[in-house]
Amino acid sequence: MKLGGKANLALNPSLLPRPRRKKIKIGHSYERSISLPLSQQDLSPKYIMAKTLFDKVWDAHVVTEIPGGNQVLYIDRHLIHEVTSPQAFDGLRRRKLPLLRKDRIVATADHNVPTIDQHKPITEPLSAKQVQMLTENCAEFDVQLFGLGHPYQGIVHVIGPELGITRPGITMVCGDSHTSTHGAFGAIAFGIGTSQVEQVMATQCLLLTPPKKMRISVDGDLAPGVTAKDLILYVISQVGTGGGTGYFVEYAGSAIRALSMEGRMTICNMSIEMGARGGLIAPDQTTFDYLEGREFSPKGKDWDDALAYWKSLPTEDGANFDFELNYKAEDITPMITYGTNPGMGMGVKEAIPVSSRVHNKASIDKAMKYMGLEAGMHLENQPIDYVFIGSCTNSRIEDLRAVVGLVGNRKVAAGVTAIVVPGSQQVSKQAIAEGLDKKLVAAGFEFREAGCSACLGMNDDKIPAGKYCVSTSNRNFEGRQGPGARTILASPLTAAAAAVTGRVVDVRKFV
């Protein structure tokens, strides 16, 4: 695949100046086997204590600490998109500042893009202007842009991993809360506001208060029909929509280890839905197998060196967390949400709670009114109008394969509009190569072009007021999929089952 532009060359690690290296003794801890410059050595007592994955990555990126405990954190990778970057570029111009490290920033257009006829000009003038402005800003500041029409365009949190831009041990930010997705690779990745986008552009750093650390362990085996999406919806329903506030979460346990990278990305993606700053999972063979050979992944000796380092990253025995939670995979059933935040979730067989551990009655009443539901009701067999399969949570090739597998020879139920939106051009290309698009269309689904689509009601894809939509996205907030839209969050399998039955159903009957 041919890519143009100077910035692209800079992105290719093999063309970057090689960093000064030290020998790593495999089998010994990373910290003790290499000699870091004094400025980077952690001489505090915790140096000799067991470290978490988070500590190792964070500590390796601290530039300096200011009195009071805030730290200047170096950011390795900065992803930008059209919605939260224009004011940041403006800020650089206003302050007459250059973009400090253009080889560390990558742009794509995703939030505003139509998912039909992407080769034609965007008809909605404000969306067109925002996408145009991204193109102009990237040209002016020499930023690598995977814009509309580019073979690498797609949802920012889908393209980072699939291109090998995301990798273990790095710090990564984007003006988007679902940046937590990239933590699936053992990176510290989190969403930031536009002022911070400008700060990273100008200084490659952020000034941060170190977050507290939480570990959520899920052990055991997920039952057939129960997916990574159900696992994270279950955890959020237990913790609540604000229960992770102030924390960075490490997901651990045998149920997490058994997940594919796609599944792990779904888990980390939704960390923000419990209020956590981010989520991460220790890199292992699944991670390395996914990354090896990707477009921008290290190659040859660089790969070997990186791999040795990545293997030293997992949390050590006895490392300290501020808070720990443990769940059993066997307790998790296919999940759906009934309310207006992702914490309002339940097993598909359950009844909407009258009150819950994490929400007061007033919040539930307000949510029920918006959703047209009542506490005590069961949602199983509830008729639905729309199905949306896509978003940075569930739009990867594995998700699309799962949907096609479940649908089989069934057809989309009469009266249901079901759309499938691949997360990127690459996912789309792969789906077409496997014939998934044809099978979906034959079953009555619409197979669209890559983008954020109906996840956030910002482009043409919106759910009409009052209509129920089973959605594989991440937020069921009021109006999220369009004013008045009623979102029921679920896994791709549950969404596919809803499409072919026209109802909320227990997908375990289908697998």
Partner: protein, 200 residues
């Protein structure tokens, strides 16, 4: 950034928990390429009906309530990282949001825009809401230097926590970028000396 030191004002009550940024500013209004004018669409879908007519039962449309302080339920600002939420709140005229806790990204965005996210105990939050219910024009005084919050009706003074660095920024109208730019030499030194095995 406009400096913030002291404020005496009445407050607008919004006793709802988990107010997410999609409510504060829906995604379809994020298409502006400047930071201005977002106040018009603050709480758009709670404030206006489908025909763009003001909904009378929403507090921002009720002339009884006004002021530069917004008092909201727990976990205010959860959801998206959109700084537009902070811009909308500031552009509407609020300088302080009071809640029992804030979502992390919103809290940072507010501070970066000269808006004080003031954390109070759940008990104090209830007390403030009660005071406003009894007297919609009840005044409250926030003194950032002293880190005090005073209910002028009851005379109760409580203290609040704020990061010292952020406090200095708010009082002087500094942005983080000013500080980070001053650290340029250290940042370059870090780049020169680090051993980056991930080849990031």
């Amino acid at each position: 950034m406009t400096p913030f030191t002291k404020l005496t004002s009445s407050a607008v009550p919004l006793p709802i928990e988990d107010v997410d940024t999609d409510q504060i500013i829906p995604a379809r209004f994020l298409k502006a390429v400047t930071r201005d004018g977002f106040g018009e669409n603050l709480f758009r879908d709670w404030r206006y009906d489908k025909e763009d007519q003001p909904k009378e039962d929403f507090v921002l449309n009720n002339p009884t309530y006004s002021g530069q302080i917004l008092v909201a339920g727990a976990n205010f600002g959860c959801g998206s990282s959109r700084e537009h939420a902070a811009w909308a709140i500031g552009d509407f005229g609020f300088r302080v949001v009071v809640s029992s806790y804030f979502a992390d990204i919103f809290r940072g965005n507010a501070l970066n825009n000269g808006i004080l996210p003031l954390v109070v105990s759940p008990t104090l939050l209830d007390e403030i809401l009660q005071t406003i219910e009894q007297n919609p024009v009840a005044a409250f005084t926030i003194n950032l230097e002293a880190q005090t919050f005073k209910n002028e009706t009851t005379g109760t003074v409580s203290t609040f926590d704020i990061d010292n660095y952020k406090k200095t920024c708010l009082i002087n109208g500094y942005d983080d970028i000013d500080y980070l730019l001053s650290q340029g030499e250290l940042i370059e030194k870090f780049e020169r000396e680090r051993v980056d095995f991930s080849l990031a």
